[in-house]
Amino acid sequence: MPDYETVLLRNVGVEGSRTIDVYRSRGGYRGVEKALKQMADDEVVEEVKRANLRGRGGAGFPAGVKWGFLPKDRERTLLCVNADESEPPTFCNRVLMEHDPHQVIEGIIIAGFATRAQVAYVYMRVEFHEQFHIMQVAIDEAYAAGLLGKNILGSGYDLEVYVHRGAGAYVCGEETALIESIEGKRGCPRIKPPFPAIEGLFRRPTVVNNIETLANLPHIIERGADWFLGIGTANSAGPKLFCVCGPVNRPGCYEAPMTITCEELIMGDRFGQGMSGNASVQAVFPGGTSMGVLKADEVHMKMDFDDPRNFGLLGLGTAAAVVVGDKTDMRDVLRNMARFYALESCGQCTQCREGTNWMYRIASRIASGAGRIEDLDLLEEVAGRMGMMPGLSICGLPDGATFPVRGIVRKFRSELEEHIRGQEPAGAERVLSVLN
């Protein structure tokens, strides 16, 4: 892709990119000017619908369509900006906030205007300290410049923006858990319906959008939906950020159209630049860990909204790839992932709470060298009995838990069996200590 023009990351590496002056000098806030002064809110919604901007937070739901669900006769609307970014190994929202906070704020203002929101809450995970200060300083600058607060740019539109810091809980990235968390409660997802667009934060019509989704808005407004649709494919349109990490030469966050393959992301000169040391690829989790796993011979998968399903994955997810080298024991990977979901389940659905924990215990047993061949079937069985897809849970966390576990068991079964067959008999004695 030699002729790809960087859009979302265009200011990265520019000196002073965090400041409003530099952002403006590079064309920033023109989208807001255009939206607030020349367009009606409905026109913004229509343009974003036409661009088919699909949510970048994981689910891929079209932003304009989501905004269209808001009741027409609403009096108060709230916008929640999802900056919780907790899915391993995802860090593209961090990069956006760190290097170009005003692009994010411009997106927030446009989304706020389109949805007629009075207040936007940026829900940011607490581990983002540096990013919190950067965003808050940028928000202050935007207030001082008349881009936030009352009567923005003389348009009559008012918007307040507050950063609301989380406190360490992956599940709070789920949109209704995020809402509960802002309300000062445990981060337990709500049963849907009602969807947030009808009854969300403080029971008001609410829109939840991801940071990267919002960062696209200034460009869609400024250059139009047709420009956006000209990048990638109709179903996977627009610029996209991809993360690549693990044992690669150049881990990082890169921008490309969604025609890129997982392999290019790992090997490409403009991207990961290949495996470090003399490792080769054993496995890749290309969409965040929740989407599942690719084997080395599957990396030709396209990083778009459709192709992942052809490889048994849940979806594109966060488009963040972690590569596992050939010398890594997949039992350790299995255990690490199973633990994550077991500890991060909010616990209100029995199937998820118990299921993720059973998977963790079984994975621990296997990783500790005390596994049994039938444990692999047991893992599959447990995985098939939880999650939103079979209708057994309130939120999608357990689906995200089962896809990597099942993927590893299915795609690396012979490797796992080989380990189990090669175990020392004494391994079983370690089981008890592992189960604590």
Partner: protein, 200 residues
């Protein structure tokens, strides 16, 4: 995290202690009210302020927060206990948060954790005898392009190697995040941050 409660050595039951929240802290908490439609929504911001100024959130502090927010103390504890970030008993001056998720593990995060444990002589959720460091692990810190990584208080340390640990932990500035901060909206509460400002 979530339904299993961690951290959790014996919480400090100090219901009969004198008030721990200073007027400034209470004022700071009240300053969040205009942002939200309910007072309870100011709970996480309030707990952050309390932990930043007092070091942890004791039972006494929880009841006082409940009073300011006009909710039941059990609601404060209910929420607090869901989140890994809050401590119900004193912690060290600096908290080391080591990432334990997949990318960091693949690139040596476990070895880093072991080196810290060995160097400080503490386990997870423990505090060194001199009260300097507490050690915890956390899931992916969204810094996987810099794995293995860890936080010391606010500061992210990137590509940490076990051999770096003694020097890194001896550095008194290893938690300093030197950068511009908002003065308009998140000015710190006007209290000493050593936990000594107990008035009201």
């Amino acid at each position: 995290m979530a339904w299993k409660t961690i951290d959790r050595n014996e919480p400090a039951f100090d219901a009969d202690a004198p008030n721990v929240l200073s007027d400034a802290v209470r004022e700071k908490i009240r300053s969040f009210f205009p942002r939200y439609e309910t007072k309870q929504a100011a709970l996480l911001p309030a707990l952050h302020v309390v932990q930043e100024t007092l070091g942890h959130v004791s039972f006494k502090a929880m009841t006082e927060v409940a009073e300011v927010l006009e909710i039941h103390p059990s609601q404060v504890f209910d929420t607090l206990s869901f989140y890994t970030h809050f401590w119900t008993h004193p912690k060290g001056k600096k908290t080391i948060t080591v990432c334990r998720s997949i990318t960091c593990e693949l690139l040596g995060g476990r070895e880093v954790l072991d080196a810290i444990k060995k160097h400080l002589g503490v386990g997870e959720h423990e505090t060194t005898a001199d009260g300097e460091y507490s050690l915890v692990t956390e899931e992916c810190l969204a810094g996987c392009d810099h794995s293995p990584c860890m936080l010391i208080n606010e500061k992210l340390h990137k590509r940490v190697q076990p051999a770096d640990i003694p020097k890194l932990l001896a550095d008194t500035d290893n938690d300093k995040l030197d950068m511009p901060r908002s003065t308009l909206f998140d000015a710190p509460a006007d209290v000493a941050s050593d936990g000594a400002s107990v008035t009201s």
